[in-house]
């Protein structure tokens, strides 16, 4: 009977496969070597690397309007958002070193993020130039950082709404870029130059670089009390 025969064949094929595939003991399969660690380079505050002094003053002023200092903590400038962006623009992010950067550069949808021939470093250079020309043209020769807080908010609101125009750059797109990078600077690990003393994490109650929560899960509905910790530690690590 052909069907029986086929079943028999199938069964033997199964055995044929199953037998050699019994468990093997792998020894030292997972790679491990002493002293192995790939820590990111620690950003130390100091001279600007990418920004000119004028550009830096503008970005710091923007940071303080986007995240104003208040009774809960420092503002964006004090938190190091501008330092964070400066070092990012000086590194591989600034040149889009990790992205495919060959033409054609089609216009993407908003959800596709930046689709532009200019990498972020160029966007910033052009965007800050355009912003300066917009402000000096409108406010009697004064740059953004020289405006009153109310005027600064006016400018930022106009940028966000797409009402601020300058031939040098798309100021609405630049506003989005700034907002994203400010947020990153405020919440990224302090090792990258922003989120000074984990001020962003403290606001959120974010625990930082911890990764084991078994004991927390074992005791539900209790307040989480551990302070946040950064890649570089926390103040209690020092005597």
């Amino acid at each position: 009977m052909p069907s029986t025969r086929r079943r028999l064949l199938a069964a033997s094929a199964l055995f044929g496969l199953a037998i050699p595939a019994t468990a093997r003991t792998l020894k030292e399969a997972l790679p491990w070597s002493p002293n192995e660690a790939y820590p990111p380079e620690r950003v130390v505050p100091g001279p600007w690397v990418f920004f000119t002094a004028g550009e830096a003053a503008t970005v710091e002023a923007i940071a303080d309007r986007v995240i104003p200092a208040d009774e809960l903590g420092p503002g964006g400038k004090e938190a190091g958002c501008a330092v964070f962006i400066d070092r990012q623009l000086a590194g591989p992010y600034g040149t889009s070193a990790w992205l495919y950067m060959r033409p054609p550069f089609a216009r993407g949808t908003p959800s596709q993020g930046l689709q532009d021939e200019d990498p972020p470093a160029v966007q910033y250079r052009k965007g800050l130039g355009a912003l300066t020309s917009y402000c000096t043209g409108r406010y009697g020769g004064r740059r953004f950082e020289a405006l009153t807080p109310q005027q600064q908010d006016e400018v930022l609101t106009a940028m966000e709404k797409g009402e601020a125009k300058d031939p040098g750059a798309d100021l609405r797109g630049f506003f989005e870029q700034l907002l994203n990078n400010m947020t990153e600077g405020f919440f990224a690990d302090p090792i990258y130059g922003g989120n000074k003393d984990m001020c962003g994490w403290r606001l959120l109650g974010f625990p930082g670089t911890r990764y084991d929560y078994r004991e927390v899960i074992a005791a539900p509905n209790q307040k989480y009390t551990l302070p946040p910790v950064a890649l570089t530690g926390r103040p209690e690590w020092m005597r």
């Binding site: 002493p34 660690a37 005597r239």
Partner: protein
């Protein structure tokens, strides 16, 4: 025709019998060589037993020679008696004294029957031509007759003498531990001249590690270990408390994991009979001590995820730090090395997973390494002297130069 066949059989019989006796002897010799861990030192870039590995001593590197039967560069021209003399007295056939980096001060206890078996095994190895530089020590240690004086001070040749007041198992254990196993070579501190210190079996610093106390002291030694705990550690490199790494990982990998169960039990029975002896630790530091406070923060942030907040670890993966012998030794070298460069335990058939601990040297400075060490040495009932940042600095230099 039939008679002829019978004759052939008769003639062949003694030879066949001799062969099987030889094979038994060779196999026994191979097992004994495993117990002696010869392969760990005598294996170099040119193959197993071919020599060339530099053995660290306080006086410099000494290269382990070629033990294959090559007649120019190995021991092909040695007789059984020459070999027995080297093992028993530390002397080469030409009268040259051997350095005790070759553990002859322990091998001297090995019976002639056993050294002959090892020799028979070594003769079956493929001959490898590999010239080893035998004169690497600086003056005055380069003069081999210096060893005559050393031997007078520290070496007492003599076969193992069984004790009538102990069981056969105990005696077998003592023979293995004090002889081929040469366990006290690491587990008894060396004095300044490389001889045994007076604190037998109380452990000591060893190439940037600390070989622990093996007496029955409950805190620092194996007082709280059962015979089964010791057997499991030696057979698999791991037990419910601890995992072998560093120099002991090598001993387990090449030697104890390949020993038979009866011998491992005998070793454990003997060790469990070593009387407790350890320096009295200072009282545990108060939790309010500044080193303990920073140490606690460091522990919670870096170590707790694996070793648990209460130092109980996770059985089979992460060692228990509470009550741990490794943690409470007088010296902190093992602890600092583990934290600075990470560590991976030995993989054996019995415990093949070989879990690793990541390096923290990139994240913690020397003071922080010292503080977290001080913390684990003085928490959960542990008691041991505080650690110093200067020791962490020294260890960091050491692991940077020679990671393992």
């Amino acid at each position: 025709m039939r008679a002829l066949l019978l004759l052939a059989l008769l003639l062949a019989a003694p030879r066949a019998m001799a062969d099987s006796a030889d094979i038994t002897k060779i196999l026994r010799g191979r097992y004994l060589a495993t117990v002696g861990d010869c392969i760990a030192c005598h294996t170099g870039p040119n193959g197993q037993y071919a020599g060339g590995r530099g053995i660290e001593t306080p006086f410099g590197l000494i290269n382990a020679p070629n033990l294959t039967p090559d007649s120019d560069t190995g021991i092909g021209q040695w007789s059984e008696a020459d070999f027995a003399r080297a093992m028993h007295e530390g002397v080469r056939p030409n009268g040259d004294r051997l350095y005790p980096a070759f553990p002859y001060p322990w091998y001297t206890k090995v019976t002639r029957e056993d050294t002959d078996a090892i020799f028979a095994f070594l003769r079956t190895l493929p001959a490898v031509r590999n010239t080893v530089d035998r004169d690497t020590l600086p003056f005055p240690f380069s003069v081999r007759t210096v060893m005559r004086g050393w031997n007078l001070l520290f070496f007492s040749p003599g076969y193992y003498e069984p004790r009538a007041d102990r069981s056969a198992e105990w005696n077998r254990g003592a023979y293995l531990v004090e002889g081929l196993g040469h366990c006290s070579a690491c587990h008894t501190a060396r004095n300044a001249l490389g001889g045994d210190s007076s604190a037998a079996w109380q452990g000591g610093p060893l190439q940037g590690w600390f070989a622990p106390n093996l007496t029955n002291d409950a805190r620092q030694g194996v007082g709280n270990w059962s015979v089964e705990d010791i057997v499991a550690y030696l057979r698999t490199g791991a037990n419910a408390r601890s995992r072998a790494s560093g120099p002991m990982a090598e001993v387990v990998g090449y030697s104890t994991s390949l020993m038979n169960e009866a011998d491992l039990r005998a070793i454990a029975v003997y060790l469990k009979d070593l009387p407790a002896a350890a320096p009295t630790p200072p009282a545990a530091l108060a939790t309010s001590d500044p080193a303990m406070r920073t140490g606690e923060a460091l522990y919670v942030d870096n170590c707790m995820a694996c070793h648990r907040r209460d130092g109980q670890g996770v059985e089979g993966i992460f060692p228990i730090l509470a009550g741990s012998q490794v943690v409470q030794q007088p010296g902190t070298d093992t602890l600092m090395r583990i934290i600075i460069s990470g560590v991976r335990s030995v993989a054996t058939d019995g415990a093949p997973t070989s879990p690793g601990m990541p390096a923290f040297g990139w994240r913690l400075n020397d003071q922080q390494v010292a503080d977290v060490v001080t913390y684990i040495r003085n928490s959960w009932g542990n008691q041991a002297p505080a650690a110093s940042a200067a020791d962490a600095t020294r260890l960091r230099g050491l692991v940077a130069a020679a990671p393992h």
